[in-house]
Symmetry: C2
Subunit: 172 residues, 2 copies
Amino acid sequence: MSLDGYIAGPDDDISFLSMVEKEGEDYGYADFMKTVDTIFLGRKTYDKIKETGFEYPREKEVYIISHSTSFGDNALKYYSGPLKILISNLRNRQGGNIFCDGGSDVLNQLLQDNLVDEFFISVIPVILGDGIRLFKAGRPALNLQLVSAKEFDTGLVQLHYIRAESQQQAGN
Amino acid sequence: MSLDGYIAGPDDDISFLSMVEKEGEDYGYADFMKTVDTIFLGRKTYDKIKETGFEYPREKEVYIISHSTSFGDNALKYYSGPLKILISNLRNRQGGNIFCDGGSDVLNQLLQDNLVDEFFISVIPVILGDGIRLFKAGRPALNLQLVSAKEFDTGLVQLHYIRAESQQQAGN
């Protein structure tokens, strides 16, 4: 997100992300992806990713969280019900590590039900001033525990938090 | 601010700040204050500070930025005109380092006119979910340059940015 909390500027513009693109620097993404079993995407994030030609590793299970079911991409699953139920099902299986990739709507649904255990937030050195906020207003409060704050020479800062322990226990 | 960008929760609640209070840890505040000549405060921040009994060092010039002039505190100045003019006057004097302490309204006025050279943002390990945002929507974009990201054992992360150089030149 930008320092002022936007994941896209006006008109869904994500060109600000290019300011931290650097050859050979993936900000830990490949290593992180190895730990992921399932990916949640919002419809808008899916569209953006499709535009770039990016593909997730084939062994990952990708869910598009959307009310619409007209994607025409049989390699992907879509889901429009309560996330609480989907997550409960996934957690009962082995290796149910779920990565919510972008998608303010999906994240905010998850926060509403206290379903996020861990946060990796990359802060890009820019104030966008307007656009789509990562955190929408009207969510419950949640105490966090800082794991690390990593500084990269592109100016990106990666903040890593887990849910504070007392709440983690209460939530499980 | 909280990770989700709030400087106060619902009902102006700033009790979340107490989670990073620690004896002997001022997060560099005293050293920073030595560099400050003038302090800008919003009316709400002034009220909050007054409640706590906190006082700025006497040699600092403190301006309350407010439309109202009924403070009854003769030690302080108040200002209700365009900040651009006040800053221009202060900059013409020796040692015109201005610190905008809290105050979302004042900060956003300054951002509107691209009058902020340097940002120290302390990220508190909590999601507040709702309240008063530090960065309001509808401001111009601004490229930043990361100076440092400091991690403290309370979980606070202090982000320090300056305006990206090209804009600094353009702005002056």
